[in-house]
Amino acid sequence: MSKPKIPKDKQLPEGGIVDSPKTEQEQMTTGGWRILRSIINEEECTQCRECWILCPDAAISIDKKGNMKINLKYCKGCGICAANCPVGAISRVPELDFDEVTIYRDLPY
C-alpha cells in the first residue's frame, strides 16, 4: 500500500521529536515564586547530574565544564535538588538574604 506524501506545509519533525527550546518564554517566568534559593557548592559537587534529572521544571542545565547551573528565572525554589543531592552540595538560602531581589516581569497590578 502506498501512503500519500506529506505536503510541505504539513510537514513536522519525525515523531514530533524536537530540539530543546533555545529561547525563554518571558511571559511565563516563575522565579518570583521562590522563597529559598538553591546554591550549588561547585567544590563539593561531583557532577553526578542527580539534580539535573530530578528538577521538575528543567531549570538546571549543564555548562561546558560539566557544572550544574540553576536558571533563577524559572527555579520555583521547591528544594528537590537540595533534598536529593547525594553529597549535600546544595544549600537553600532565604531569597531576602540576597542584595538583588528580582521580580522578573512587570506585575499586572
Binding site: 506529506i6 513536522l12 519525525e14 524536537v18
Partner: protein
C-alpha cells in the same frame, strides 16, 4: 547451517540471541511464563557473558518506561512480559512507537485473567496490535532465536525505527526445548549492525520527546508512523534475504504457504500450533486428504496482498483462532476479519470460502484429532461449495 547445536527452550534461545546481539539495557519484572528469559539473561550478565545494564522494575509499566528512555538514548534494549503483564504496560506502547524507539519486547503468551491460567492464548498481545509495533510469532525455539535478530535489524533500520513484539507461545515454545543452531558471533555482526538512533538523547544536545501539539498537527504525525509501518513491510523481504544468506535458513517473508500435496483446502494459522498441524497434514495425506497450511510470520505489518494471493488458490480456508475477541464481526477471533478484509477485493471466482475454528483457548493443546476435525469440516464445505457454519468451537461441536 553453520554453528553450534544446542537443545534449548524458546526463551533460552532468545537469551542466546540477545547475548549475540550485545543488548545494552534489560528491564525485568517477574510473571510466568516469560520469566524464564530473565533468569537466563541475568545469569549471562552475572557471569560476564553479556555486558548489559539489568534493571529490576517495580512493574510492567515501569519496565516499558525504562527501556523507552534507554532506547531513546541510543541503547539496544530488551524487555518482556506475559498475559496481564502485557496489558498492564499498555499505556507505554504508543509513546514508544511514537517516539521511534526500537525497543524489543519478548512475549511468551499467557491467557488473560480471570481465572488465573498459565496456558498460552494470543489474546494478551493481540490487544496491542494497533500500537505501531512490529508483531509476529515464532513456531519453534529456532525461529524464536532467529526472530530476535531479524526483529532488531528490522526495527532499528532507519527507514523503520519501530519497536517490536517478539512473540512465542507460552509453554509450547517457551518451555519445550528444541534444537537450536547458535551461529558464530561474526555472522551476527555481519547481519546486525550496531544500533544507531537518528536523534539520541544527550545531556549536551537535549531533545524534546512527545511535546504537546495542536490537533491539526495530529494527522501528520499519525501518517508518519503509518509510513514507517509501510516501510517495514517493504524491507522485510530484503532483510530475510540477507538473513537466509548469512545463516543458511529458508524463511519466507510474511507468510509461509505450505502446500506439499496440492490441496484445495487450507488452514490459516499463527504460532506454535502450526507444528501439530504439519504432523496432521502428513498423516492426512496417508488417508488421501490433502490439506495445506498458511502460517503467518508477521501479524504487523499485515501482508494484505500476499495473503490474498496465497489464499486465492484454495476453495476453502479455515482460520485457526488461538485468541478471542468477544462480540467481534463473525464472532471468532481477530484474524478472521483481517483475512476476510484481505480477500474482499479478489474477484468472486478466486475468493475462497472462509470459516473459523476457535481452538487452543486458555492454552489447551490443539490435538491431531482436532486438526482432523478441521480438515473434515473444510473438505465438507468444499464439497458443498456453501458455508454451513461460520465458526466452529473445537471440543464443543458434534462430529
Amino acid at each position: 547451517m553453520k554453528g553450534e547445536k544446542k537443545f534449548l527452550a524458546g526463551l533460552a534461545a532468545v537469551a542466546e540471541a540477545a547475548r549475540l546481539a550485545d543488548v545494552d539495557v534489560i528491564s525485568s519484572f517477574p510473571i510466568r511464563p516469560y520469566t524464564g528469559l530473565m533468569v537466563d539473561l541475568s545469569q549471562k550478565v552475572a557471569n560476564g557473558e553479556l555486558d548489559a545494564e539489568f534493571v529490576h522494575a517495580e512493574g510492567e509499566h515501569a519496565q516499558l518506561a525504562i527501556v523507552h528512555g534507554a532506547s531513546a538514548s541510543g541503547a539496544r534494549t530488551m524487555t518482556g512480559s506475559s498475559g496481564v503483564g502485557v496489558t498492564y504496560a499498555f499505556e507505554v506502547y504508543s509513546p514508544i512507537s511514537g517516539g521511534r524507539c526500537p525497543v524489543q519486547m519478548v512475549i511468551a503468551d499467557r491467557t488473560l485473567d480471570p481465572p488465573g491460567d498459565f496456558g498460552s492464548e494470543h489474546t494478551d498481545v493481540l490487544g496491542a496490535r494497533d500500537q505501531g509495533w512490529i508483531l509476529g510469532w515464532a513456531e519453534t525455539p529456532q525461529e524464536a532465536f532467529d526472530n530476535t535478530l531479524i526483529y532488531y535489524r528490522l526495527g532499528e533500520d532507519q527507514r523503520v525505527s519501530l519497536p517490536q513484539f517478539n512473540c512465542q507461545d507460552g509453554y509450547f515454545v517457551s518451555h519445550i526445548p528444541g534444537e537450536v543452531v547458535i551461529p558464530e558471533k561474526s555472522q551476527v555482526e555481519e547481519f546486525l549492525p550496531p544500533y544507531k538512533l537518528a536523534k539520541p538523547l544527550d545531556p549536551l544536545r537535549p531533545y524534546g520527546h512527545g511535546p504537546q501539539i495542536y490537533s491539526d498537527q495530529g494527522p501528520t504525525l499519525q501518517l508518519q508512523r503509518a509510513i514507517l509501518m509501510d516501510n517495514a513491510k517493504e524491507i522485510i523481504p530484503e532483510i530475510l534475504n540477507d538473513f537466509n544468506k548469512i545463516f543458511g535458513r529458508k524463511y519466507d517473508s510474511y507468510i509461509e504457504n505450505y502446500n506439499p500435496n496440492n490441496a484445495n483446502i487450507c488452514l490459516f494459522i499463527n504460532g506454535a500450533h502450526a507444528q501439530t498441524a504439519r504432523f496432521a497434514i502428513a498423516n492426512l495425506k496417508k488417508q488421501g486428504v490433502n490439506l495445506a497450511l498458511c502460517k503467518l510470520r508477521f501479524v504487523r505489518p499485515w501482508a494484505t496482498e500476499e495473503i490474498a494471493e496465497a489464499l486465492s488458490q484454495y476453495k476453502v480456508v479455515g482460520v485457526v483462532e488461538t485468541n478471542n475477541s468477544f462480540g467481534i464481526s463473525r464472532e471468532a477471533g481477530v484474524f478472521t476479519p483481517e483475512v476476510a478484509a484481505s480477500l474482499y477485493n479478489l474477484p468472486e471466482s478466486k475468493r475462497p470460502i472462509l470459516i473459523s475454528f476457535m481452538a487452543g483457548l486458555g492454552g489447551e493443546a490443539i490435538r491431531l484429532e482436532d486438526f482432523y476435525f478441521m480438515a473434515k469440516k473444510l473438505a465438507d464445505t468444499a464439497a458443498r461449495k456453501k458455508i454451513e457454519k461460520e465458526v466452529y468451537w473445537i471440543g464443543f461441536e458434534e462430529e
